[in-house]
Amino acid sequence: MIKLLNIKKSFDSTIVLDNLDMIFEEESITAILGPSGCGKTTLLRISAGLINADSGEITGADREKMSFLFQEPRLLPWKNAWKNLELVIPDNVDKETRKRLCFEMLEKVGLKGYENHYPSELSGGMRQRLSMARAFIIQSDILFMDEPFQSLDLKRRAQMISLFKDLWIKNKPMVIMVTHDVQEALLLADKLYILSDKPTRILKEIQNPMPFEERTVKNEHFYGLEREIINEYIVN
């Protein structure tokens, strides 16, 4: 479990995060939902230890294995698909196993046959899938996601979300994701934190009433929940 306590962060004189408390549970997906520019990404970077908060306390975040799905795929342009995956596998794993793991993972994300392609030779969607493969290949303890499906069209996003679910269910790493998309949050997260505009506070903490397997747009509660969140916390 990771706990954030009284997290404060300012850039210059602007208070971005104002006394935030959050709890992220093991084997669970938490979505941080908020308007653009409210400091979601800053919060995520603080949780991942990439930047420091001005004050406050973080406990339980010192993890051995972390992975991150960024807004962009962040692949090395000079490495082909399987080498991009292989890079994140710890050095003590032997050569044969590394290769096998990479090829298996590429097959899972639908990139079989593209092992030797460079990122520039892959489509945008394929690069995102490769980036997702990289996030899951190391069986990390914690996965951070910074609006990873944002740049995709509706159909591709639905595909990516279902791919994500298939990969996540195997090891269930703790996931902290930030998004401004209510649907995305409802389709994935067990718990949603809804944030206000700057200075950012938590407006509401919601447990997703839909069980993991039933989180689809076809669920009878889905649109009701979406409308409720939008009306109560986002439009006003």
Binding site: L50, S67, F68, K79, L87, R134
Partner: protein, 248 residues
């Protein structure tokens, strides 16, 4: 435009240039302006002479020495400049200064101050070093922060970061820097050799000999040889560092 058509057009333009040159030389008022034919004859006699290869070798070797002498410190100081901000700012000043000095001033000073046989190498060092240093240091400053952040998240070791992120991103800058530095290196080397009488078997010295005999065809012929040698080396660099991915 289709590549084939482009090639045809290029040949047409070159042919037109040679024809124009030919007619200009027909109407010459002075004796010395050579026709294309005279240049080709001169080129043939230069290449056929026994001293041709040693002459070209001497110049190429001096270019290689000065290039290597500039490249290694440029790389080392470039790396230090990435680590120490002060060095970066200091070197900006130093390279800016060296760049602004007229090359001929460096040549004249070097001729007076230094032992004769090494002057061309040292002159070239001063011209080539800033080009190489600037490219290497810019390359290091411009390494993609997003990739470095990704590497930190996935717990890459420092060696892994250097091998997989720094070196590949630096490569494009080193290639670009080396290509422009080498082109400059050849030009300045020949110029420095013109002023250097310690060794007659250099391209620059040969040009000077043709010049004092008012044999412009010979000067033109040597100029063509320098162009050819530069192009060969440029292609060599491109070949050595060829990439199999497209950087987008």
């Amino acid at each position: 435009m289709k590549k084939h058509l482009q090639n045809v057009l290029l040949v047409v333009f070159i042919a037109a240039f040679v024809v124009l040159w030919h007619f200009l030389s027909l109407g010459r008022k002075t004796l010395i302006f050579p026709s294309p034919y005279e240049v080709i004859v001169s080129l043939y006699s230069i290449i056929a002479s026994r001293s041709f290869l040693p002459t070209v070798f001497n110049t190429v070797w001096a270019v290689f020495l000065s290039f290597a002498a500039a490249f290694i410190p440029a790389l080392i100081i470039g790396i230090i400049s990435k680590l120490v901000r002060f060095v970066y700012r200091l070197m900006e000043l130093v390279t800016g200064f060296i760049r602004s000095i007229p090359t001929v001033a460096i040549i004249l000073m070097a001729l007076l101050l230094l032992p004769l046989s090494y002057t061309p190498v040292i002159i070239c060092y001063f011209v080539v070093f800033p080009v190489l240093y600037t490219n290497i240091s810019e390359g290091l400053q411009n390494v993609d922060e997003k990739l470095l952040e990704m590497a930190r998240i996935y717990r890459f070791s420092n060696a892994k970061i250097i091998r997989n992120i720094y070196i590949p991103s630096l490569k494009t800058y080193i290639i670009a820097g080396s290509r422009s530095a080498l082109g400059l290196n050849f030009k300045v080397m020949v110029m420095a050799e013109v002023f250097n009488f310690a060794n007659h078997r250099t391209i620059g010295a040969q040009m000077y000999m043709h010049k004092i005999q008012i044999d412009l065809a010979g000067v033109f012929a040597w100029a063509l040889i320098v162009v050819a040698v530069s192009i060969i080396f440029d292609l060599l660099i491109k070949f050595i560092f060829r990439e199999n991915y497209i950087n987008d």
